[in-house]
Symmetry: D3
Subunit: 290 residues, 6 copies
């Protein structure tokens, strides 16, 4: 069982997400089926079990959903975030009252399924470029309200995070360049306004633009929608003076040639906007009384 | 341009989602690139344009993101929710100050992309069963925090909504049955507890279970992971006495045979947990001063 | 001591209500009297005691108010939700630090008083119709922000809940009928738009309208402001093809004749908008040091 | 039409209450009946009309509910807060799109009904003591989450507000006195801790206690559950040296004799925990297209 | 070690402030440095230590920041709120996992530093007037969002609180007087509108205004920007008939002469809008594994 | 009038701060003085006027406070954020109803006063180092809940922002170094974990540490509490290979010698934790009826 060294998220970052998920599912009436049908004192054993192979992410968050409803549920973790598992793997076993476990089930699985899907897709991308020093990054194309969790899932999958928002890095795109009246004035304006902890990246479509950006001393260049050939020339032109990042329509299955161009980073919006969920279920067995 | 008759969502339902999306993207510093590089008075024309064919959902929500930052942005809508469009279609044109338009872009697109992806997948599912009276439904396997929007996107795609949460319908599953000590006591308990506006559905795996459920007078039966053959027998057995719903591993591309079995409803978690986003972008042109 | 089998509310559903109640009462300065006058280490025994006979509802919520201020307060419950008690009954005994108990007192009592008042009124209504199979339901005429709790109190009182909001059931009223251009198009439009887990009820004022509704196959009919005689004819006309519900100006003291008409359900907005609170107090005795 | 001079509430104070009321009623699906049945472009005229005589309070809040859903709804106010009206009085007329008006109806009425019920009960109490200079006050026995609105309704009814919470006035009750080891140390402790803008009131059950309190120079005394005779002696004993307030089991119909005792204030928890709602409805007529 | 008798704040009053502080500092990515660099199992001992002499306020709040991230951190308090300490004093010692302690450090110190700064400045003001019975009060010139905490720090410093907001005391200023058409009508209007638990204070600039106010029977007078001489005449004129409060440009170093005038209260906005923070740091040592 | 080119904050960033400020000041009763004393229809002209010279920051936020209570208040701005003004300067003139203007006054001024105080102190620091290319930065020692605004005020004052939180930049301090077992492993761990848009800074106390950091290729070094002499040697040693930042006990009045050492940046927690507010008031005149 392989485990990445990714630090777990602080619960402060996801507690409101759990609250919203439960509020959505409970409404004003709560879990009417469970309330009507399941005896209050019934105890169960429940196992979070994969139905597909993949990399796990979000197990701690999913378990926190159960604990939000009942802190007394006992949990044993077998495969934590970062584990690569086969179909049928038991990730964690829960013991406790049946009602809160059944009520929390769907909210917990919705989170675990999505994050593990992203981690699995990221790992596939990382493997696709494994022959090269290229790193895999995600973008800001995340699900509204879940960015902290989805960026975390990318890290668990072996990827790195591009900036988290508009606030923590400058990325000068074509519209900014046009607005500023050219690449050079845009870079100059950014440099004058920013603190020393922020980096400047510029999106370029052509080698001419790239030349200007590099001469202006930017920290990174986003090579947008370039062919592998163009990327190779770009990497050569940059010659280590900035981080090179390829982007545009990339997916785990079309990365190899791009990575072969020598770019430092490939970034994929696909990881967070289009990766399928990883199928994970909850198997429940009766176990006497609480 | 085909338009469904789906009623638009009341903004009260999605205003907090927009707020969170913008808070995630703006952090404490706001859009540092735009603030540094784009002149305050620059005006632009911007067009929300599809890069792929599909059905549109969430345009009103996306436009509300722009208006949250600047109510003065003027908008013309060409293809509203429910429209089926080709790649390259301009959905809406915005005129206004460059800064808020560029700042809102990603948050708006993240919502529009996801909802249109779901609507497009739903429409594909609806088309797959078009030869039959079968309806397409979604499930509770939605993204935490976005259920109202995702259920809406399914409606826009031509599907119907199963219950919205644990609160608005009884669905007795295998775990509930086991907990209650059998199907009949489970149904009896549910009936005794509920008001007259709530329906009771039971998940069954076998025809024997199905027989018991139908005799107990449930409103609907969820036929879980049955083969087309088994589904056909189930539909025959039910004989119109309850709504029949097939579920389990369904996707737009494996629905046809299932629908041919005569079930009233096919339900797909896939629509909301694994449909890819629809690629939509924002094209911006400078247009003088505000 | 009789106990109903109503499932307790999940704390997720009422935690924000407790937070708001305490915020209202504590403001920015907190409980200035207690802070100034009561020693920090003083321990007390406090008993929640009825001053009137009635049915208890909301005890768990009330106790959660005390625990929100001090989780170390020990609690013994004598009569839980659903109990019918006389004046002078001790519902629960608390032991703990004097300050949090005195500070939480009013917020806890305000909730317990209101919910027990509703449960008591509901029980009276249920008793009034006890000679008939008629069930007692509440409406959406609830206190803003407290609907989940008030609907729960009705269940504790032996009643059932009509729909919880505009979202979980269709109720076509006169204004909808007029808007749709008639009863039949209204029902057809509703049926086309809804999922299979939602029921359709129609409000009717006359037997002619009732006939149309029943022929259109609605699930339930709301017989609005009809005389007992008219209700009797309506029940006969429906003949079991739909749930019949009588409504309009009903109170526990005028239900008997209505129930005698044979309607399945009587629904009373009065239970939640006009029932008086049940008088309950907190008796406190000093008990050494914490 | 009599109008009190009570200043309207700032919307900042009630906007969150409206938000919660609508969220409760709309859930995730919104108003499914209206969305399915009512054409988007239908316009209506709607009249808020009393079904009972009483004093109006909360009209501005109720109208803000409609405007929260659609700011374009036009409103004409005929009888504003403070008006005493007969059954059948049209309080305000709305013109606008049918959908938001029908969707907001219940949330708006739930607020207006409750506040007008409180104002009407307060006015009755004020009239009951009109032969004396006695003023009518409410208490902290309010509905959780609605204290600002309910205290306002009491003002509209002609009453005055006791303290708003534990934070804005000292009220030393029997438990505080016991905790402090007597009335004098309790008063001394309170005086030492408080700023100069806060008043001190003491609850007394006997004339002996009253004597101590008055000698200690408190600002007000709460005469708890005293007979009219005892109250008369208490007023005499106080002789204008403090505000006298009678409390305990008071209702509009048992105030007269209490007021005759000469107390400055009678305070009634009943106004906010047990007053019935005032019956108000919305009459709607179709009026073409928006 | 001197300890004031100020009652600690209920955590309900500051829990949201801690939540916001941590959200600000953690953003979506959390503490990236600690996550990358500090081993998960490393344990530390950490000491909150003063770098300056002063009076401590906010220690409980600061410790709650650490416990919000990790309830398992053990804490020993040496000098609690109200203690007067020298530079180098260890206020509290923490034992626990290194990561949450390092992550919470800045948020905890930002609160403790500010509140101790205010308490220290207040104590200086109290000492400056120690030769007189004059009390020191703060104003509403507090930091947005922190009023409850800052008012508490003033109490810890030995001061008293003026009103907490616009809601809990009447203070009639020059603009109100002008608006009402004179001092007398303003006082009369206030008296007619208010409950018996609220006091009335009037701001006066001249002895003539003062005379009017005192004759109108106000509870307190705010003597604004008067010279010590004028204050002395004012105190004489009031002759104990109202509380006298001096205000306007006061700081701990210019209070003495003002207090000598005999006013009951000096109030200083300076305490909360301009007092410097008290320098406090966190010293950390490695201590094996958690 | 000098104006900096700092982009204004998006209102999304400060709207919740305004809400909290008003909620604190209004409580449940609102502005009782104004409600009682000021006629509803009175109109006023009000001028935000400095009582001290300084640089203005937060005017837009302050005006938004007034507009939150009444969007109809008309505003003319004379000196916007970034202006350096004398005592007595009118920053903006407001025309509108007296009540909302008087009610919002204190909340608006509390924000404007604090932010202008920070901007003024920053400008003083910037002037103190004007003879050198050194830039002035703030830290994370900000007021809980106000970081976005205070960082903005620093920019308006001519300073730059260090990282905004723990999330947007790596700063390896002594505790991190100890925890990681040395400077080199700490830097290596950080580099491996981070995306390409994040910079790494290391805090060093000695020239030996500095040498290690520079050889490890960090982006910036924090030279903590060094003498001007040591700083000069450090700058020489770094020789442009990293950004040099001096910190520790700096204030506007002790910066000059530090800047003379040649460091790129001086950073001052003092700007946000100890700068005094800038005295600004609101002058009001009656102006007929609204």
């Amino acid at each position: 069982m392989m485990q990445t060294a990714v630090a777990p998220l602080d619960p402060v970052l996801y507690a409101p997400i759990i609250e919203r998920a439960l509020e959505e599912d409970l409404g004003l009436a709560g879990d009417v089926t469970t309330a009507a049908v399941v005896p209050a004192k019934l105890a169960v054993e429940a196992r979070l079990t994969t139905r597909q192979a993949g990399r796990i992410a979000g197990l701690g968050v999913a378990l926190a959903v159960f604990h939000r409803l009942d802190p007394a549920i006992a949990v044993e973790i077998a495969h934590d975030d970062g584990a690569d598992v086969q179909a049928g793997a038991v990730l964690a076993t829960l013991h406790g009252a049946a009602r809160p476990i059944l009520t929390a089930e769907r909210s917990a699985l919705n989170i675990l399924t999505r994050l593990s899907g992203i981690a699995t897709a990221t790992r596939q991308a990382v493997e696709a470029v494994a022959a090269h020093p290229t790193r895999v990054a995600c973008t800001r194309k995340t699900t509204p309200g879940l960015r902290a969790l989805e960026k975390y899932a990318v890290r668990v999958g072996g990827g790195v995070n591009h900036r988290f928002g508009l606030f923590d890095g400058v990325l000068i795109k074509d519209n900014h360049i046009a607005a500023a009246g050219g690449l050079e004035p845009a870079i100059a304006a950014a440099r004058a306004a920013l603190g020393h902890m922020m980096k400047i990246e510029v999106e370029v479509d052509t080698l001419d633009q790239l030349r200007v950006a590099i001469e202006a001393g930017v920290d990174a260049v986003l090579l947008d929608n370039m062919t592998p050939d163009a990327l190779r020339q770009a990497v050569e032109l940059v010659a280590g003076r900035a981080v090179t990042e390829a982007s545009g329509g990339l997916r785990p299955d079309n990365l190899r040639e791009v990575a072969a161009s020598g770019v430092d980073i490939v970034s994929l919006g696909w990881l967070t906007h289009s990766a399928a969920g990883l199928d994970i279920g909850l198997d429940v067995e009766r176990r006497g009384q609480v």
